[in-house]
């Protein structure tokens, strides 16, 4: 057993729902008890979907357990077919139904329904949401995609976007446009927007663009094996990665990359290079999310924003290897965990100036008084903005610049805070002036919790009152780091009491 308060991922059948809900003409019959229908609201509320997810739940109750839950499943399956007339169905069990072992797959395939029925085995007590989405998409592709005549001209499939994905809607639009600029036609986008009949003709494309390996890697590997379709490896998040992606797809399609390489909409490189952005230099950022978004964000943070990545991690173990490799490249050890308390501990210890994370890290940042920009699922209603806001491609690079800079204290404001630290109304506990009029809760409480010495064990130097007062004059967003550095410097020097002198000695010692 594992004690959990908040989870990054739902159970695997929610992953299957993300695939089914993204598609058209597919219906999911889920053997599940009353209450599992809560998952519908993820789609209708968070994503504001205007249709119910195409899912029928059998809703078995305690009194059914002694009699025939299998029959309940058969009835639900038949009724779902009659009512929705889907082109194909997927069937499976939620965590509770897995325990009663009714074999929904076997039951449904023996019913003689006139459409393909794809059974899903999603082990709820081992696997999680992303895996469930990937497995579902792979099973569908395996059952429905076969050899077919190649289409005219260069074409590809775009694989990976699902319902409830982080900015999938806009990423697909942006990448479809980019491919169009290169003269590459999109044959099928799947799962999002595709029908089972669309999956039948996946083979008509020359190659596959894998936007989200978390959901599409297994399917893409299958298509490579049985249909010989090559696939992309680059995730087009950030300017440099987008350019690499353009070259990669141009080569796969045998076209000239030039038309897409000079998109006049691209502003991010100039915005980063312009003098106003100097203050971004070396900002210490902590990056956490799903593996794909975290690795991409770390690269953008270092190479395109000029930040220093001080922590990098992901919650999905399936792609831990990729995250570990990327972390090594940043000189770090990756944090692979789905326990948000571990993530909170890491952030508390590192005292970054900016967090690039999920909604969980946004909450952690709120508690610790550290700004956060959201880069990855799990999603919140705020992650489905009304405006066009992709993460990928050219416009995605612009969006990253804006959304990552927005939570920070701005350049000149930072200097003024440094110069007039004791101004009664313009001080650091007032927070960035463009965000809110409220003091951060930590600052309002007097001594922010986050400032507590990281290691209060024996041998930790004591702060003299004067030094403590001087420390307070340092802006809050670097104060934690100054405290830690001074303490470790003092400990190494064998200084028992930290004075104002020690503070400035440490500052000189750590000067870059």
């Amino acid at each position: 057993m594992k004690l959990t308060v908040w989870t990054y991922e739902g159970p695997p059948h929610v992953g299957a729902m993300r695939v089914a809900t993204g598609m058209r003409g597919l219906h999911y019959v889920l053997h599940a008890p009353q209450g599992d229908t809560y998952a519908d609201l993820l789609f209708t509320m968070i994503e504001r979907r205007d249709h119910r997810p195409p899912v029928t739940y059998t809703t078995f109750q305690a009194r059914d357990l002694g009699s025939d839950t299998a029959d309940l499943f058969r009835v639900a399956c038949q009724e779902a077919y009659d009512r929705f007339e889907p082109q194909a169905m997927i069937v499976g069990a939620s965590c509770t139904a897995e325990l009663i072992q009714d074999d929904p797959g076997g039951l449904a395939t023996s019913m003689g329904l006139p459409v393909p029925v794809v059974p899903l085995e999603l082990p709820s007590y081992q696997k999680k949401e992303s895996w469930g989405a990937a497995e579902t998409f792979y099973r569908l592709v395996r059952a429905l995609a076969g050899p077919c005549a190649k289409a005219e001209g260069p074409s590809c499939n775009v694989l990976g976007p699902t319902a409830l994905g982080f900015r999938h809607r806009d990423d697909v639009a942006e990448i479809t446009r980019l491919l169009g600029d290169l003269g590459i036609r999109v044959n099928v986008t799947a799962p999002m927007g595709a029908s089972p009949k669309d999956l039948n003709r996946l083979g008509a494309a020359d190659f596959n663009v894998v936007l989200y390996p978390e959901t599409a890697d297994a399917a893409a590997r299958h298509l490579e094996k049985v249909l010989g379709q090559r696939r992309t490896r680059t995730i087009p998040i950030g300017t440099a990665a987008t350019r690499e992606f353009i070259r990669e797809v141009a080569e796969l399609a045998g076209v000239d990359p030039a038309p897409a390489l000079s998109d006049p909409r691209l502003r991010q490189p100039w915005y980063s290079a312009s003098v106003d952005s100097t203050y971004l230099t070396g900002k210490r950022v902590f990056v956490f999310g799903d593996a794909t978004h975290a690795v991409a964000a770390a690269r953008v943070a270092r190479e395109e924003m000029g930040f220093e990545v001080v922590g990098l991690g992901a919650y999905n173990r399936e792609f831990a290897r990729e995250v570990r490799a990327a972390a090594r490249d940043h000189g770090l050890e990756a944090l692979i965990t789905d326990d948000y308390l571990e993530v909170e501990d890491a952030i508390t210890a590192l005292q970054p100036e900016l967090i690039l994370g999920t909604q969980m890290e946004r909450h952690i940042g709120k508690r610790l008084g550290i700004p956060c920009a959201v880069i990855s699922a799990p999603v919140h209603v705020q992650d489905f903005p009304a405006r066009y806001s992709p993460q990928m491609g050219i416009e995605g690079a612009n969006v990253l610049f804006d959304t990552w800079v927005h939570p920070l204290v701005m350049g000149l404001e930072e200097h003024l805070l440094g110069m007039f630290r004791e101004d009664f109304e313009f001080n650091d506990s007032a927070g960035p002036s463009h965000l809110s009029g409220h003091a951060s809760p930590a600052a309002a409480a007097g001594e922010p919790e986050a400032e507590a010495p990281a290691d209060a064990g024996p041998g930790t130097p004591i702060w003299a009152p004067d030094a403590e007062k001087e420390l307070r004059k340092i802006p809050f967003f670097v104060r934690g780091k100054a405290r830690r550095n001074t303490e470790s410097f003092a400990a190494r020097q064998g200084v028992a009491t930290i004075t104002v002198e020690t503070l400035y000695d440490a500052k000189a010692h750590f000067a870059r």
Partner: protein, 451 residues
């Protein structure tokens, strides 16, 4: 039980009930932890369940409550399913760790879930064993919030039922008000009972050490309509149930208070003197909303068991017309006064087959449909105005001072519909790129694909 003051059996008292089985679009009993963990301030709710349970709890409220919540899920893993003995060991270990970290916890509820019930993990045995270890500091109780046994608010019934055997015995003639109420509402009722001269207690109390006594002189007033098992157990301990309307709106609140007042021998004159200011305020507040609601047709989909009392309030005090009133479970004895006060001709349904029920909603086209969060936006997109049922459970709606707010909860969606001019169905591509706009299944079948 029926005294001389009871309304004569009319309305829907004898009306047939459409009983349905099929897909239930409702929450399970675990969801009631969302308010219970705030109500009992030194209690912790530990769900013994699956990742689905944990995901439900963080999704149900629609937002994350990031103040360290007093609930968590012990997620069972493969190895816990293999051997039950191991599961008990694992549970003991997690409870020890939890109580070491939260020494302020005085009551720990082990809450059963669908998977723990199906593998027959005996949480009552676990609670006994853990109580022996952790009492007197912390007592460990258990109940089931599983979806195979409980619907949404029945989780509270389970929780309060677990508390009843631990209530001290008392022969004092006191009123016991059962059902968790927002603190502000509880305080209002406490002031009214005090003014009436009725010694009153509330279940649950806000703290473990303050749970009220019960015995043969206890008079029980239900503040919530979903407490069947709690009421039965309190009856076994000697309490006498006072049948009444539930305290929604001016009429319901007055009838409810009068049931207590007459049982405690309060004179009508004194009762009127105490309640008149509240009644007048409620009437004034309702007058503002009645215009928006009068004559409008409303359907309730089953959710919290509050449906029948709320429909009675909206019909009686806001002049709305109930079309269909669905409830997950109909308890005739507790609902007799409510049913009698519901307009004749109202369609009553119990249980759910959500597809058939939505067929009826489409045929009826009510002005307002009260439903769960999974159905609200899809119905809005079809041009049907909806009210989220869950807000009725999370908002202060009982009593005189909230009567206007309660009506406002129903008036607001109608008011909003009337104000917005720019909405003519959801934008194409609102959710997906334009080419991939979702279509109704019937329209979609055969339309997708090509080749």
């Amino acid at each position: 039980m029926s005294g001389a003051d009871t309304v004569p059996a009319t309305g829907c008292a004898e009306a047939p009930v459409l009983k349905e089985r099929g897909q239930h679009e409702v929450f399970c009993g675990l969801t009631s932890i969302i308010w219970l963990h705030r109500k009992i301030q030194d209690a912790f709710f530990l769900v013994v369940g699956s990742r689905t349970c944990a995901h439900l709890l963080q999704s149900a409220a629609g937002v994350m409550i990031f103040a360290e919540p007093r609930f968590a899920t012990a997620i069972m893993e493969e190895k816990d399913l293999a051997g039950i003995v191991d599961a008990h060991d694992e549970l003991d270990r997690e409870v020890d760790r939890l109580l070491a970290r939260r020494p302020d916890i005085r009551t720990l509820f082990l809450v059963g879930s669908c998977p723990s019930e199906v593998i027959k993990l005996d949480l009552s045995r676990a609670a006994e064993r853990l109580s022996q270890v952790h009492e007197p500091r912390t007592r460990v109780l258990n109940y089931s919030g599983s979806g195979i046994e409980t619907t949404f608010t029945e989780g509270e019934d389970g929780c309060l039922s677990a508390l009843v055997p631990r209530m001290p015995a008392s022969d004092e003639a006191r009123l016991l008000v059962a059902g968790s109420l927002p603190d502000v509402v509880e305080d209002q009722f406490a002031r009214l009972f005090e003014a009436l001269g009725i010694p009153a207690d509330f279940l649950p109390a806000r703290r473990t050490g303050e749970m009220p006594g019960v015995g043969r002189n206890t008079r029980l007033l239900l503040a919530q309509p979903f407490l069947n098992e709690t009421a039965r157990l309190l009856g076994e301990r000697g309490a006498t149930h006072l049948p009444a309307l539930f305290p929604f709106g001016e009429v319901g609140t007055t009838e409810w208070l009068w049931a207590a007042a007459s049982a405690f021998g309060v004179s009508r004159a004194h009762f009127d003197a105490v309640t008149t200011p509240g009644r007048e305020r409620a009437r004034r507040a309702l007058a503002h909303r009645r215009e928006r609601l009068a004559g409008r047709r409303i359907t309730f989909l089953p959710d919290s068991q509050l449906e029948i009392p709320l429909a009675r309030f909206l019909a009686g005090e806001c002049a709305m017309t109930p079309v269909e009133v669905g409830t997950p479970f109909l308890h005739r004895a507790h609902m007799s006064a409510e049913l009698a006060a519901l307009p004749a001709g109202t369609r009553l349904s119990e249980g759910q087959h959500v597809e058939r029920q939505l067929d009826r909603v489409h045929a009826d086209r009510p002005d307002l449909t009260v439903c769960g969060l999974g159905l609200a936006n899809p119905l809005e997109a079809e041009g049907l105005t909806t009210k989220w049922a869950i807000e009725l459970v999370f908002s202060p709606i009982h009593g005189y001072e909230q009567a206007g707010d309660l009506a406002e909860l129903f008036a607001r969606p109608l008011e909003r519909r009337a104000r917005l001019t720019g909405f003519a169905g959801p934008a194409s591509g609102g959710v997906e790129p334009p080419s991939a706009a979702t279509a109704p299944r019937h329209a979609a079948s055969g339309a997708g694909g090509g080749a």
